[in-house]
């Protein structure tokens, strides 16, 4: 065994979360493993429905209901969160692991004053007096740069702007100085200027408190420059995992490349044609055989439709699950072949065509 010093704060192993619904078994998270060390930031990126939110909620044990089937391990500080009794989990919530949600309008209680919401955890976990709690609430609101904190503790959420409300959510999450913070699309509902500041605030608080953070987002622009490592998810699986620099500079998985290419950038001239991704994310109940991304992938070959590529890690610690990784000669060959054949998902990238339905094998894949 490794020494305690080397042990990651959070070690997730082969995590599966499946939901039984009327239509069948929905595999929202399907075999995810990763490590997160103390003080580090991990970005989890993917489209809607890729399983990124279910993943963080599974680790937090927030997926309730009889139809949820979870397997695997999520070891946090030496104990497996997934097998912990709920009574012990409530001790961990807020105190050891905290969460910031996407929508600050609905994650705050509209009929409880800000001050009480901010100190609820502290009063529960540490049993501090009302007076101490008040002082602490003011301190916490000041740490997230809320102006006139003494006044704000007496306000209700509707009296604050969206950005200020999200700062309050962060103050609540930070109240007990957790070791790990899950931020699930914390800025998606906000303006760019407010988003920038909320992300800065999270970063500042994180380094001051040496807290680890998982930043879940659909926007690769949000995680660039703000994370140590990035996981790209597709259809409940990790398709690429590497250090932030490697993800951007040595993009290996076609899905990551496609996400990056579809983002408009300010350094491109106006009216630059964007490379679209053909098709839609797969139905998580009836998954195609082979690689889940193959019907939408501009490089897909016969093998991709038949055989699922494993997540392979190279000597730089860069992992990707693809038979024709971006940047290889095989990849270029596959592109040329598909372009010549006029495959729909290849044309979507080459010409920016809009393609909704993509065939699930190669033979019918030409336009």
């Amino acid at each position: 065994m490794t020494s305690a010093r080397d042990e990651p704060l959070l070690a997730v192993r082969d995590l599966h979360t499946h939901f039984s619904i009327n239509a069948g078994l929905l595999r929202a998270v399907d075999g995810v493993s990763f490590d997160l060390r103390a003080g580090q930031t991990l970005g989890i990126v993917g489209e809607s429905g890729s399983g990124k939110t279910v993943l963080s909620r599974t680790i937090m044990r927030l997926n309730l209901g009889n139809n949820v089937h979870t397997s695997g391990q999520a070891r946090f500080d030496g104990q497996d969160l997934l097998t912990l009794p709920m009574s012990e989990m409530t001790e961990i919530w807020g105190q050891e692991i905290a969460m910031v949600f996407q929508d600050p309008m609905t994650s705050l209680n509209p009929v409880v004053k800000i001050g009480r919401q901010v100190t609820e955890h502290v009063r529960k976990h540490f049993g501090v007096s009302k007076k101490e709690a008040r002082t602490l609430a003011v301190e916490l609101l000041k740490s997230v740069r809320i102006p006139e904190a003494e006044v704000t503790i007496g306000s209700y959420p509707h009296e604050l702007s969206g950005g200020m409300r999200q700062r309050v959510s962060i103050a609540i999450a930070l109240a007990c100085s957790p070791k790990l913070l899950f931020a699930d699309e914390p800025t998606t509902a906000l303006d760019v200027t407010v988003q920038h500041q909320i992300l800065n605030l999270l970063g500042i608080q994180q380094s001051e408190r040496n807290m680890a953070m998982v930043l879940v987002t659909h926007d690769l622009g949000v995680v660039a420059g703000r994370t140590d490592e990035i996981i790209v998810m597709y259809a409940g699986k990790i398709v690429e995992q590497a250090s932030t620099d490697q993800i951007f500079q040595k993009t290996s998985h076609p899905y990551t490349e496609a996400l990056l290419r579809s983002i408009p950038k300010t350094d491109q001239p106006s009216h630059t044609r964007l490379a679209a991704i053909a098709g839609r994310p797969p139905n998580l109940i009836t998954m195609p055989t082979g690689c889940a991304f193959s019907p939408r992938c501009p490089y897909a070959q016969d093998r991709c439709f038949e055989e699922e590529p494993p997540l392979q890690i190279n000597q730089d610690g860069h992992a990707a699950a693809c038979w024709y990784q971006v940047g290889t000669a095989e990849n270029q060959e596959a592109w040329d072949k598909n372009l010549a054949a006029g495959r729909l998902s290849t044309m979507a990238v080459a010409k920016g065509q809009i393609v909704d339905e993509v065939p699930i094998d190669l033979t019918t894949g030409s336009s």
Binding site: P147, H196, Q197, L201, T266
Partner: protein, 340 residues
């Protein structure tokens, strides 16, 4: 910011829409008003895409909606093809609006969940004709095809059977079915994933070319606005800050607010030097009681006493690039100082 003045307006003969001195006020309790739009002048040429960009609450949607008199501005004029829309009676205005259509931010809630797609898209035709059913169906089908939706499959389905991106395309089809001149796009991609956003942006470009459309495109994401726009107007708290040809705005932003927006825009590149320390203490000031002089001064790092006293006027900094700022970030030719 502040932006009084009309130096950025072009020859009225050459533009399709010209809005002058738009003011929109919403009365609230105790006789106070929300100054949503305070003297904005804009023009859009035929075939041009005007991007309107700014934070939530800056009045960009209100400005765009007041162009089609939804609601009519408190004061100011909007002329479309030489007609002053603010002076039209209800009947004439309804007729004029067939030329000016709108698509909204949330694609799912902008379609009636209980109606079939074929009926949703045919609704404008039921009002304005042709009233012949077969003609309606063939026009609806042509429109759905133009937005990449198979009419044979979609006609009898309902909105919940489509993804967000497809619903947005159906709203675009509905907006286009009356063959309008102008489409006002109110944050049409803000609620979509990046991959779907790329589809919609490409599609709007194609439709614009195919149908000779003029677009007014509202968004808070600068990269999105740049991608689609020919000309961009930056708004702050009910006023214009900067108006420019779109590439010039990004190459050399002249207004400190544009600089702030650009610096906040997430860039998918970790090597970019990110300012990770900036956290403003203050919120956006209230449009009920906006700051005197330049409205941006309370958040501006270059602000001086002059900014509190005197409202800056629009002036030209280079060709087709105008800024309303006392301390612009680029040098201003003396001759270009133009007052309202």
């Amino acid at each position: 910011m502040a932006g009084g003045g009309k130096a950025h307006l072009r020859d009225p003969e050459s533009v399709l829409i010209r809005a002058e001195d738009l003011v929109v006020e919403f009365p609230i309790s105790q006789g106070r008003v929300v100054n949503a739009v305070s003297g904005v002048s804009l023009d859009v040429k035929q075939g041009e895409t005007l991007g309107l960009v700014g934070e939530s609450g800056c009045g960009k949607s209100t400005t765009a909606k007041s162009l089609i008199q939804l609601p009519p501005p408190t004061s100011g004029t909007v002329s479309y093809l030489g007609t002053n829309l603010t002076s039209l009676d209800e009947k004439a205005l309804r007729q004029a609006r067939t030329d000016l259509q709108m698509i909204f931010q949330d694609p799912i809630s902008s379609l009636n969940p209980r109606r079939k797609i074929g009926d949703v898209v045919a609704e404008p035709l039921r009002v304005w004709g042709p009233h012949n059913k077969d003609e309606q169906i063939s026009q609806v089908d042509a429109m759905l095809e133009a937005v990449g939706i198979d009419p044979a499959i979609a006609r009898d389905k309902r909105p919940h059977e489509f993804s967000g991106g497809q619903c947005q395309r159906i709203s675009i089809a509905r907006a286009l079915v009356l063959n309008p001149q102008v489409i006002i796009c109110d944050e049409p991609v803000s609620a979509l994933d990046v991959s779907v956003q790329a589809q919609i942006l490409n599609m709007l470009e194609d439709l614009k070319a195919d149908y000779g459309l003029t677009l007014v495109f509202i968004a808070h994401d600068l990269a999105v606005v740049k991608n689609i726009s020919d000309r961009i107007a930056v708004m702050y708290l009910g006023k214009l800050c900067e108006v420019s040809e779109s590439n010039a705005l990004y190459d050399a932003p002249a207004h400190p607010y544009t600089e702030l927006l650009l610096g906040s825009s997430p860039v998918p590149d970790p090597t970019i030097n990110l300012d990770i320390t900036m956290v403003e203490e203050e919120d956006l000031p209230s449009p009920i009681d906006p700051p005197s002089g330049c409205r941006f001064r309370t958040r501006c790092k270059y602000a001086t006493d002059r900014c509190a006293q005197e409202e800056p006027m629009m002036r030209e900094v280079s060709q087709d690039h105008y800024v309303a700022c006392h301390h612009p970030l680029v040098s201003v030719p003396e001759m270009a100082e133009v007052s309202a």
